[in-house]
């Protein structure tokens, strides 16, 4: 039977996966190659400038490298976490009736998983626009805490012997 919690996980997971893939596609097509070129180029330039004893330029290029890598890591991480979490939601959705709680609690767990899975990578991506913003770090923590709490509840629910059909 397709319960509300299963619908939430399966369709929420599919939507999140599609969004994550589309985000990744646009990033790969329009941003990633330029970013990688910029990152490798900055590091090479930093060493080349140092070889020419232009230390100011070397330091500026190294800072560029650090900032570009900061953004790149978060963009790729957010993309892969959206898709990975979505896949987890779909898999859990298939067997969520085996989580031995009432449907109300299951819906709460599913909602927590969906909210955390959407929020956590979003907060990570937003950090590329505002490096080191505390609010965004806090949002990422809240998102991951929602996912962790939902997974802990799910594991508990799976471990409980079946009491309902």
């Amino acid at each position: 039977m397709m319960t509300g919690s299963r619908k939430l996980l399966i369709f929420g997971g599919m939507a999140l996966a599609a969004f994550g893939m589309l985000y990744g596609l646009q990033y790969a097509l329009f941003v990633e190659h330029q970013t990688l070129d910029h990152m490798g180029g900055s590091l090479t330039q930093s060493f080349s400038a140092a070889a020419n004893r232009n230390l100011a330029q070397s330091q500026a290029a190294l800072e560029q490298y650090g900032e570009t890598k900061y953004d790149y890591v978060r963009q790729v991480d957010a993309h892969s976490h959206w898709i990975g979490l979505a896949m987890l939601m779909i898999v859990l959705g298939v067997i969520f009736e085996q989580v031995n709680f009432s449907e109300g609690i299951r819906q709460l767990v599913a909602l927590s998983l969906l909210a955390g899975s959407a929020l956590f990578p979003l907060a990570v991506i937003l950090q590329t626009y505002h490096h080191g913003a505390i609010v965004l770090k806090a949002l990422a923590v809240v998102g991951s805490a929602l996912v962790i709490a939902a997974l802990a509840a799910t594991a508990w629910g799976f471990a409980k012997p079946r009491t309902t059909a």
Binding site: A50, N52, L62, K69, M87, L151, F158
Partner: protein, 378 residues
């Protein structure tokens, strides 16, 4: 297409005795299950071989290239700097394509297991579904093979400016997988119109192996998340900061002609890269193994082994799934000893998957027979 009553084999029909009835022809679902597990096992084996014979040597070569770049800086030789970074790029490509081949092979296996789950809801003819399964498996093998070859084939004989034949092979295989998924989506769309199952759903059994895989898998994923949160909260920013700090110190030492200090900074850089790599590898491996355990819980009805052996394979799989990431993390403290134990953990998972594969080969095809019977209207 006739509606299917809810399935099928009870535990008695799955007992080893009934294998004497002979094998049913493989259904699309069994191709996905068998092929998916085989892809995952092959991907893990490749990963183990990569870790033992290539990974550490590659890290050493990266250090040598960075050292060469620092020597070139000290000598004021810009051309040599560029050459050192070109060489570093090649080393990173060597490593990256092998990691990607490993990851893509395993991910194709996961996708195959997921497709096995949804086969009852794909309203296509049995033969079409089997052909799609065969195409998917071909794509799942050719995609990582193509990625693996990218570093070796390069641009040799390619008519394109930046894309070699190995990339063409990998991209074509990826397109094949996408095509299969699109047709599956179309089949699902047709199912939504009729709401009639094309074959029986997987039996909803409440066995110990299944519950252990579900619970264990979820706990593994949970542990992976907790570790990821810990890493992000305590180490990630520090590691990012230290990377540029070490590079700056390396450049400063090289510029000052202090080659000894430059060498020390290259070692520091290698240690930092190692610390990041083991944390990320532990995080991703434990989550992937958790997901694998959950997916395998679905296909236990197809594993035609006694309950005792099913339990053994499940314990081995869950044990290996914990040992590998934990000892990958401990590599920083225990060195190669921990690396060796981690490889044994990987081997435990591979052996467990192989055991389950044997069970799937021995499976007499009760579910497949029901599927065919349903299509024939019997």
């Amino acid at each position: 297409m006739p509606a299917i009553p809810r399935p099928i084999p009870d535990s008695a029909s799955l007992s080893p005795k009934s294998s004497a009835r002979g094998f049913e022809q493989m259904s699309a679902r069994r191709i996905y299950i068998f092929g998916g597990i085989a892809l995952i096992a092959a991907g893990l084996l490749f990963g183990d071989i990569f870790a033992v014979f290539i990974l550490h040597q590659n890290a050493g070569r990266q250090g040598e290239a960075l050292l060469a770049a620092s020597r070139a800086v000290a000598a004021g030789n810009t051309a040599a700097v560029n050459e050192a970074f070109r060489h570093l790029g090649s080393i990173l490509e060597d490593r990256g394509t092998k990691v990607d081949a490993h990851v893509h092979m395993i991910d194709a296996g996961y996708l195959a297991l997921l497709l096995a789950l949804v086969q009852p809801y794909i309203a296509l003819a049995r033969q079409t579904k089997k052909s799609l399964a065969a195409l998917f498996m071909a794509g799942g093998v050719l995609l990582p093979a193509g990625i693996f070859l990218i570093h070796y084939v390069g641009l040799a004989g390619s008519p394109f400016a930046a894309i070699g034949w190995a990339s063409v092979l990998a991209d074509s295989a990826g397109a094949l997988l996408i095509l299969v998924l699109i047709v599956q989506a179309w089949g699902f769309w047709k199912y939504l119109g009729s709401r009639q199952l094309g074959e029986p759903e997987l039996p909803d059994e409440d066995s110990m192996p299944r519950r252990a895989l579900l619970t264990g898998g979820t706990i593994l994923v949970l542990l992976g998340f907790v570790h990821g949160a810990y890493y992000a909260g305590t180490l990630l920013y520090e590691h990012e900061r230290m990377e540029t700090v070490i590079l700056q110190r390396l450049i400063d030492a090289a510029t000052a002609g202090n080659l000894e200090a430059a060498t020390a900074e290259v070692n520091n850089f290698g240690n930092l890269a190692g610390a990041r790599a083991v944390n990320i590898a532990a995080h991703s491996h434990i989550i992937e193994f958790g997901l694998l355990a959950m997916l395998l819980s679905f296909v236990q009805p197809f594993v035609f082994l006694s309950e005792k052996w099913k339990r053994r394979w499940v314990k081995l799989l869950l044990g290996g799934s914990v040992i590998l990431p934990v000892f990958v993390l401990l590599e920083l403290k225990l060195g190669l000893l921990a690396g060796g134990i981690a490889d044994v953990g990987g081997l435990m998972v591979i052996v467990s998957l192989s055991g389950m594969l044997v069970g799937i080969l021995r499976y007499s095809g009760g579910l497949d027979a029901a599927e065919r019977g349903a299509e024939e209207g019997t």
